[in-house]
Homo-oligomer: 193 residues x 6
């Protein structure tokens, strides 16, 4: 399937990219062994590319006592599934499997997070993330109180909501561009090493 | 996770089951190497069990020139994902991967069938299946004409709709009972042999 | 209106049917005085026909201390109305009027069960049935606890949900086939004898 | 059931009502043989009562070459069913049966107007009525053109939309007050004389 | 933009109108300095015109201890915004700004009443108004109790619901006729005198 | 109302902010005459702040032959209204009035863009923006073809969708933080100078 398009929009040659973007992509390729398509699909818009990944890393490359990296990925998978975003569910499902050291969690969250093997606290986290994603206009004091009662602090609550909101942006870019998912992600984290 | 419950409802011992049901379950175990939980979760209601699997096999253990077994599984995965049915998506995703000989198709269909690597004809098939699943009350002549224009005959159209309707029943039983998915299904059909 | 089609799909001649199906239909005709169209509309698919009616009878031809036959029909009418299924609302509305010995209950349930002349316990039963029918993915512990608090036992809860799920299948078959309702049902149970 | 409340709100004594309202109610009682509850439920608000019935009669007690009285009642029944208004569906279902001289049409329209024994032109009329009722914000030129192509003139189109809009008001008053339906309506027009 | 149509439907000349309607319109013009388009757009249907404005005035030209005129306008703005009714939001937004003596309240209510600078009691009032507007079929005892607990009496509750229901009618007439908003309303009440 | 909180989350002192962020805020204040609250509400997260405004400017501080700055603001207002985002509708409504040199356009777009005084081409632009905002999963070839047929090129289409997606993120941050709108925005662009 090497010849299937990655996006409805233009994919520039690596050589034509601004040097910082080219270097960033090569670094990812070095680490992952392949270039995730989202880097190629956003590259034709350098300023948006830079903003997108800066935003992404500020929220995701972070670990707080109240919100682990695996939990951050749970938010991505559960909200992206509800938004029917193929790339985000499959790519971040892979990352979640690795970070949570669980081959089953991503598929569970992608179908129905209420039935997943996660803690009650994590379900409360996902209830909020989904409400931000789908009915943010109805969020009120009671939603925030429920998170605080579960031990999430101010910074965690912001992160949960902001990750949901940021991937809402990502989900829409993927669906409008028909961004293709790399085949490498499907199996990642499924087979014990 | 061996001790997590399979269902909110009772799970009978194999020894206490009516002989035909016990034999059927043992035959499945023989073939699959494990007992898919749906057999255990429905067994406490023998008459419903018999009806359910008779219905299932009449629709799924069948292959017509217009509707392959893989295509039947596509219908199950796409409609069950929309109904947020964990067991059906994961278990039938496994069967679909095997029948379609594709490690990626199930995850694609489970997130957004419109973006999956399937034919235009298969997308039309799934448009109808999803409409039966979610807005059956609006089905009209134009929907049927569109299927006939794509080469589906009367029997195929019935099968597409009936599979969608039958798994709508199944999806609801799974969600109301919190039926647990066997871990064996997650990896099945993903690794080339 | 004798010449209006019963279904978009083929209606076989009684003489061509497998003997068990022909006998079943004749028995119904003997008892009811006419053949309900659902028997004719499903007959072209003998295995599905058998499974459908076995399933139906297992759930509906039953009476438990916690769930009367009239209450089972209430579930059918209220959920089928929400799914806009003409055949199920009108035919089972007739059966409900007879079983509940009430000429008004079916029309009340078909428009808005929350305003019907039924007990609080029956409204709780229908809240659950409707949730299974329309948002099964959201069912959780609290829904089951509420039923138990109203005196429904495990078997009753299963029955309520399974009847809702089974008629969800039936509703979809009716709408996809444009199954016609027999005129006999409209008046049945309305006039005191 | 004589002692069940007609409304959550006060029901004045006939004797205490303004004379014009009392006379109007008595005239209806004279003609129908009973007092439809909507007259009693609105009477505590004389000005609103007068406006409501003036509006009602301007739209419903009228017959144009393009829109018969039976068709006006079809609009009421189909839209009120979608709004789950028990009183309107049952009371106007009775009037529709009488005006259309059909014992079956009201129950068909109340469950799924797309499957009712009505003309294609009448289905187009109801498509518009339902769109006004449920998604009026999306109405555009194409909707009006479709009606004109079916022979509805400017006045008919206004009437279809206005009847839908007026009964949307009525449906909401009924549901907020839990207005009770008179038992007389259930059987009316069902038995051939 | 003087030549943009006021409505899809006919606008009669003032001189051709029944005298009572002509006088009413002239009185409004005298007071407001212009003729609000709703008077012109409804005038071609004199009986409906009379009923509409009688109804309107009975609900809106009234002030009770429990429900001020400004609060009545809040209900109009919040529900009409949800129904995407341009005329009602902009025209009644103007009236609300004047009655509430606030240049900001209308824009707040029109986007998200939950975030507006209003009292908790007023939010409860609007929760009910919105429920009548969008899910009246689900209204039950708890909704009414919540209003009573906030100090609304029987008459206030009726008014809140009836205003919501009446403007639901108005919103639909506006959207079906593409009724145009007078430019005078946009700025009214925004600039302190 | 000076003492009403700007956000549920912390608002840092200007003096404590990283210098680049402090300078950026002062520059905005210099130009606008006040500090729009969004700058203060995001400042406690410096990296997200930088990414957010870089992204914003890349999409909004740009003018192409196919998409003017006023049209970009139209997209913001129409989609933010649908997402019930008070800050975005009111603040960008002000910017839109100025850029489009129209005191009425923002209020029209905020209630129902289908009825606004904009061109047919702009309605097609907003249809796509709204679909990205609310049903991105259903976007297909036909949506893109319709834009191309209206003269939008590849870059314009990306911008329309990306603006809608980016403000979807912004709308969610506003609603989760209850971000308050500055009073200065309400009147801006309404009064001819």
């Amino acid at each position: 399937m090497a010849d299937l398009p990655i996006s409805r929009f233009p994919i520039p040659d690596l050589d034509e990219l601004p040097e910082d973007i080219r270097q960033r992509i090569l670094a990812v390729q070095e680490k992952a062994g392949f270039i995730p398509n989202v880097f190629l699909a956003l590259a034709w818009r350098p300023d948006e590319f830079r903003a997108f990944f800066t935003y992404h890393d500020a929220l995701m490359e972070k670990e707080t006592p109240g919100l682990s990296q695996a939990e951050r990925e749970m938010i991505v998978v559960a909200t992206s599934a509800r938004n029917q975003c193929q790339y985000c569910v499959i790519a971040h499902g892979a990352i979640l499997r690795i970070r949570a050291k669980s081959p089953t969690i991503a598929d569970q969250l992608a179908t129905n997070y209420r039935k997943a093997d996660i803690s009650e606290r994590q379900k409360i986290m996902l209830d909020y993330a989904l409400k931000v994603s789908r009915q943010a206009e109805e969020i009120g004091d009671a939603d925030h109180q429920r998170l605080r009662d579960s031990g999430f602090d101010e910074g965690d609550i912001w992160d949960i909501g902001a990750i949901s909101a940021f991937f809402g942006l990502s989900n829409r870019l993927v669906n409008m561009s028909s961004m293709r998912t790399n085949e490498e992600f499907y199996l990642m984290g499924r087979v014990p090493r």
